[in-house]
Subunit: 458 residues, 2 copies
């Protein structure tokens, strides 16, 4: 595969030869090579490859700028490709085209393709409706196995998966059962499809079921596809496992970037141009910076305390980071638990009940370590914290209990609050939590200090 | 499903009635109910359910404590279950049993099951060898379609998936092609299997291919299963898409917890007992705390500067958090790029080349915001930063450029270093990076201050 790429780049062979080589490659490998070409070369190559092969390439989300390529291809070819593509992929590409081309192409498409595009582009992002394909095997319940198999053979090319047939009541159009191809080939050909033994009632989803729930369902029931039904139990499409895998990888990336405190990237790291990288990172960084400015205001407020007890400043970074760390632990815990549906929005109080003792204990643990550190340095003569060192270390220890508890609580509540406000709970990034906790940390620290050190240092 | 659970808990019906109800449920739903019972009840129920149904339950990784249940079941039943389970699931359960039971059971198992267990338990975790099952459809290349289909019908019950048949050279035993069930039912029954048209050479993996690469391959080629071959191209097992989904969800959770700075949980949040939660969070929190203590040492080192220019302390939290935030952005970027194989270990210098200008620019952005903030407060009379406020704001601005660049660089290099040391790059947590950057942040801040403020404030 690499040799093909190198050979073409060094102009060792023409587009015709490249097309000839590509059509014996795995689709994914061809796509890698095609993605490396410039747009004019791509259009040339895709005009030279056999239509069937090109349709398969366009069916994969990995083919970059597929909308732009379709716009540049001869219109007849573009129409053939769109008509041949699986409906869900066609809908995705279609939505990326400019409005003018879209209108022009739409008029030339087959009526069936038109109807499918209309249906599929009408559902919100991140739902089963936007992910599903309308091409599935629907079998009237009065057919025999033989008739079903014949039908599958006939329509096989136009269906994304033939591994499950959906048995439909011919009168009401409702879904009666799902029969796997495995069960079909086991049954005798003249048997009625309705009599094929299946273990249980079919698992269905609504067009508004969201990505995470779909992934969970596939994992739970080891599914290869799942029918999407409307409120009358009519099958309107199916979601297949390959699309679920794609959305899971996307989701993983998005969540990781978000938790790192930046906007999700839609391209590989090395391919992102400088201005785009600045935008994805700079926006959040500046926002967090502005939030964090409140720490300076908080410290200005405690100016007199600061001047009197400069020794306190030594522990500011230690205290603040402990709050941030315990907060980011709690946040990552709750984001996962919400994503896996282990917790629902109404469980927030159960989490508070768990996080208070956990936070107190973790804070106590850090407090003990902190006090020991100060005492050790004092006794060993490494550093002199002054005559009031016991009071100072008590202040630090007490503050740690407060700040770790506060960090755990706010870190665990933030995803609930975001979810309650209809934001993605995964937007609760580690830097976001840290910023939130930092300001409070300073207030807690100096308030505790005023209490413990008043009359001595303060 | 919930009603069944409630009814049983309120002792409205006996184990016999519960078993009767369960066997009409989806496997995943039954498992949920069974997982809620105590271990003795579980054993009773699983003795009452039909063997076929029980085998399916044990095949799912979601059934909790399956090893313990098998140990408590009558030995004959346990043997029947292990013999009936898919080989990969059986190997997983087997490895969790205590050594004594394992030896006792092993002797009674079918020779085939014994051989499979031996093979499957010999591969390291997180590899295809540990994930694969040895039950697949292998077809000698001189068979016809009809003979192949008859064979599939016959062995269907003992194979995890029948959707792909692997065509083997009867002499050398090597893999010649992979034929999908879809292609089989399309072909005419008396055709030779070797002549069934397939698009391309079969995609294979080695038993040592790791989880992330397997997931990537499934996503790339839209696979339902992939054959695992040894160095002589003999098929030794297959990995199926349902197992890939399971490992992806596990991986997602693990990474999220790690990035939050804690050990991965293996149970839902609400089910973790207090001591375990303390262990998972307390260990890392204490470790990070001890690392962060270096900030106190760094500040002690700059004691004289601190006393002279107390105004500088106001901006310590702001500066430190900016370093941490830019570091955690860079880390999450590189962890994903490494996981998706967009970058390899040798690309570290390319990343440095990209991160230096990005870091400098982001730092410049924050520096400008910071200087503006100080100037505004000073001019508007909100706070008086003293006669040297211009020098102070220049110090803050310059430090921000330095710290954000350093944060971006160390954040992006940490995953490379971990990977180089054979650790999981995803262990580079946001708190870990922040701790690393905090200490350096203080050093950079006071060094810049010494340079700019010497002769005025210092």
């Amino acid at each position: 595969m690499t040799e093909i790429k190198t050979a073409f780049n060094s102009r060792n062979f023409s587009p015709e030869v490249l097309a000839e080589k590509l059509k014996n490659q795995h689709f994914a490998d061809s796509i890698d090579i095609i993605n490396d070409l410039d747009i004019v070369e791509r259009v040339t190559i895709l005009s030279l490859l056999p239509l069937d092969y090109v349709i398969e390439l366009f069916d994969k989300p990995e083919l970059e700028q597929s909308a732009a390529i379709l716009e540049l291809l001869p219109i007849n070819r573009a129409v053939e490709i769109l008509d041949g593509m699986s409906a869900d992929a066609a809908a995705d590409v279609f939505q990326e085209m400019d409005k003018e081309t879209r209108t022009r192409l739409y008029a030339l498409l087959k009526p069936l393709t038109r109807a499918e595009l209309k249906k599929l582009t009408s559902y919100p992002d991140h739902t089963a409706g936007a992910l599903m394909t309308t091409e599935f095997i629907a079998i009237p319940s009065n057919w025999t196995i033989q008739k079903t198999l014949d039908h599958i053979r006939e329509v096989e090319r136009t269906r994304e998966t033939v591994y499950t047939s959906y048995v439909i009541d011919p009168k009401t159009g409702t879904l009666l059962k799902a029969v796997s191809l495995r069960n079909l080939i086991l049954a005798s050909p003249d048997e009625q499809i309705l009599n094929v033994p299946t273990h249980d009632s079919p698992i269905t989803i609504s067009p508004f079921t969201d990505h995470e729930d779909i992934a969970r369902l596939f994992q739970r029931h080891d599914l290869l596809s799942v029918p999407v039904v409307d409120e009358n139990n009519h099958v309107i499409g199916i979601v297949t496992v390959d699309d679920v895998l794609d959305t899971m990888v996307d989701e993983m990336n998005e969540d990781a970037y978000k938790f790192g405190g930046m906007e999700a990237l839609n391209k590989p790291y090395m391919q992102i141009k400088f201005p785009e990288m600045m935008k994805k990172r700079g926006g959040w960084l500046a926002l967090l910076f502005i939030g964090e400015m409140l720490t300076a205001s908080a410290m200005q407020y405690f100016e007199t305390e600061l001047e009197k007890a400069i020794i306190l400043t030594l522990f500011i970074p230690l205290i603040m980071s402990s709050g941030g760390n315990s907060g980011s632990q709690a946040t990552s815990l709750i984001i996962r638990a919400l994503a896996l549906r282990e917790l629902t929005l109404n469980d927030w109080w159960k989490v508070i009940i768990r996080e208070i003792p956990t936070g107190l204990s973790l804070g106590f643990l850090l407090g003990i370590i902190g006090i020991t550190r100060i005492a050790l340095w004092q006794k060993l003569g490494i550093y002199d914290y002054g005559q009031h060192w016991v009071a100072v270390s008590t202040t630090v220890g007490t503050t740690l209990i407060g700040i770790v508890t506060f960090g755990s609580l706010s870190g665990s509540m933030l995803p609930f609050i975001l979810k309650g406000l209809k934001f993605d709970p995964a937007s609760a990034s580690a830097p976001f939590v840290a910023t939130l906790v930092d300001v409070t940390g300073i207030i807690i620290y100096f308030s505790v200090a005023s209490l413990i050190l008043s009359g001595t240092l303060l």
